[in-house]
């Protein structure tokens, strides 16, 4: 008995030791950034030290008080939220169509959807740049440097995964329920509203949440398809390094603010992240 107990304790200790070590590996880089955000310019160039000696919020107040940062932040919020809602609605309609109707070439459409996500984004920068600056133009107005442009563009990589994710959910809702509602006199939108949406609600929520975070995190398109008005928070981060140069404290503070949504989502939607990242190919 004593040996068994000892073995069990040893096993617990190794397991915990290992996981504490892994957790430190994950958190130390982020902690260091937090430490940098809590330091003034002078303090930074002292000997590297993980401990935080005092609460120093000037970096945060500088960043939050800056009017262009406020614009970046509100742009990012607006673009991500609008994109998430749009993706959720369009994906619901599209998936419903793919799931319930006999459409010619349905499987090919399905495969084509995923290819939209495979493409290296850098390859599409040029045509999109030209389309945004030249083709979509009404008088002086172009799609370039507008929130609308990014909202629509982000659908290209969010819709495919949303449809893949929702396909399983909607296929799982028995078609008899649709029929019963239709016999009771519900039209198409009645069925969607009273049958599909309530039953697919968790799936729809996950779709919206993950679309939101993918749009929030996107950088390459935002950086090249906007200039002043529609810049997002990720482009602001990158600009900090290349243009302003060396204000590391504020850069760290801004990055910390960018991390907040990610942290919230990991806590609340953790189970679905893998499904979202693998087009539902791997379920947990």
């Amino acid at each position: 008995m004593r040996i068994g107990l000892r073995q069990r304790i040893a096993r617990y200790l190794t397991t915990y030791g290992f996981w504490v070590f892994m957790t430190l590996l994950t958190l130390i880089p982020i902690w260091w950034m937090f430490a940098v955000s809590m330091r003034s310019r002078v303090e930074l160039f002292a000997r590297p030290n993980l401990a935080i000696s005092r609460i120093f919020l000037e970096n945060y107040s500088n960043v939050l008080g800056d009017s262009s940062f406020q614009r970046y932040m509100s742009n990012s919020l607006l673009i991500s939220s609008a994109n998430a809602v749009l993706v959720m609605v369009l994906a619901l309609l599209a998936t419903y169509a793919l799931s319930r109707y006999k459409l010619v070439g349905k499987d090919n459409i399905f495969f084509w959807l995923i290819t939209n996500r495979m493409a290296p984004p850098a390859a599409f920068l040029l045509p999109l740049f030209l389309m945004f600056t030249r083709s979509f133009r009404i008088g002086d107005w172009t799609l370039f440097d507008t929130q609308l442009g990014l909202i629509l563009l982000y659908c290209v990589f969010n819709l495919p995964f949303a449809i893949w994710l929702l396909k399983g959910v909607i296929d799982g809702i028995p078609i008899e329920l649709d029929d019963a509602a239709m016999i009771d006199g519900a039209g198409l939108f009645g069925v969607l509203r009273h049958v599909i949406v309530p039953l697919a609600a968790p799936g729809l929520a996950v779709t919206a949440i993950l679309s939101w975070i993918f749009a929030w995190n996107e950088y390459l398109f935002a950086a090249n398809l906007t200039s002043v008005q529609a810049r997002t928070i990720t482009t602001a981060l990158a600009e900090f390094v290349t243009v302003t140069g060396t204000n590391w404290g504020e850069l760290a503070a801004m990055s910390m603010l960018t991390l907040i949504p990610s942290a919230v989502i990991v806590v609340f939607a953790q189970r679905y992240i893998v499904m979202g990242l693998t087009f539902g190919a791997v379920k947990e």
Binding site: W19, P48, L126, T258
Partner: protein, 290 residues
């Protein structure tokens, strides 16, 4: 009752957006790729030049280097992630109090914006106040400057990618491991198989589809990596990956025609690679199960 026309109507907004912002740009790249078009060139506008761009590409040392670097980066990063992720998933199949907390923390890097990942690692390695160069110099007497030494920059990118994406592999492996039936494993143990044999002959074949899917998705993403590496090293030596190279040709140099032809080749290479893997997943997997 279910008229296909209604179905198409429901599908149409999605198709329109994907065609306009996904497919048309592709056709456009294809078109421009066969033209000479540089904003700063002597003559204005596009000029058809057949396969010249592609001929130039085969001898473009910078491009070939960028492909080599991307391949090296993807290989090192994905190999480490798969081994580490499998090991971590194995550790998570045990039950212990507090497991879910460790798991949540381990998942966190996955949702961090790539550009913020780049910022985090840049702050760690920046000469002057980053702790990594300081400690390496102090403990091992290594001079660590990612702006100067290409190998160090590449290695740092790989480590950063491992930090960012290993959790993904862990989670997919965990999903795969927990779907493996218990009986074959027990049976193999009864028959006297050792731990390695159980892993090699029972666990691995069962895990194969998930493993290949994971590698498939990781390769797709690793080839596309631009943001975080750009943020980390600013396109310095050792990190000039294909994505960054395309950006350089198209934007600062405005060599639109040539940039498009590189895009086409990159796209083509990605598709071929994915197709090969796809066959690996669907074809071979089936043969072995039957």
């Amino acid at each position: 009752m279910r008229n296909p026309r209604t179905g198409w109507l429901l599908l149409s907004p999605t198709l329109i957006i994907l065609i306009v912002f996904g497919f048309l740009p592709f056709l456009y790249v294809l078109f421009v790729g066969f033209h000479e078009w540089n904003i700063f060139a002597a003559q204005d506008g596009m000029r058809y030049n057949g396969l010249d761009n592609f001929r130039r590409l085969v001898f473009d040392v910078d491009f070939l280097n960028s492909v080599g670097l991307t391949a090296k980066f993807a290989l090192f990063a994905i190999a480490s992630e798969v081994v580490l992720g499998f090991f971590l998933a194995q550790m998570l199949t045990r039950n212990f109090p507090g497991k879910s907390l460790f798991r949540i923390i381990h998942t966190f890097p996955l949702m961090v914006a790539p550009i913020a990942v780049g910022a985090i690692w840049r702050l760690l390695v920046i000469p002057g106040f980053g702790p990594v160069p300081f400690l390496l110099d102090r403990w091992f007497d290594i001079e660590y400057l990612i702006g100067t030494y290409p190998d160090q920059a590449l290695l740092t990118s790989v480590i950063m990618d491992v930090w960012h994406w290993t959790p993904f592999v862990t989670l997919t492996m965990l999903a795969g491991l927990s779907s493996i039936p218990k009986e074959p494993v027990e049976q193999a143990k009864v028959d006297g198989a050792n731990r390695f044999q159980v892993f090699w002959y029972v666990t691995l074949p069962f895990l194969r589809p998930v493993l290949l899917t994971t590698i498939f998705i990781r390769i797709m993403d690793a080839i596309r990596t631009v943001d975080e590496v750009w943020m980390l090293a600013g396109g310095g030596p050792g990190t000039r990956f294909t994505g960054i190279y395309i950006w350089r040709v198209v934007f600062p140099r405005t060599d639109y025609g040539y940039g498009s032809s590189i895009s086409i080749i990159t796209l083509y290479l990605t598709i071929v690679l994915c197709w090969l893997l796809f066959i690996g997943i669907s074809g071979q997997g089936k043969d072995e199960v039957e």
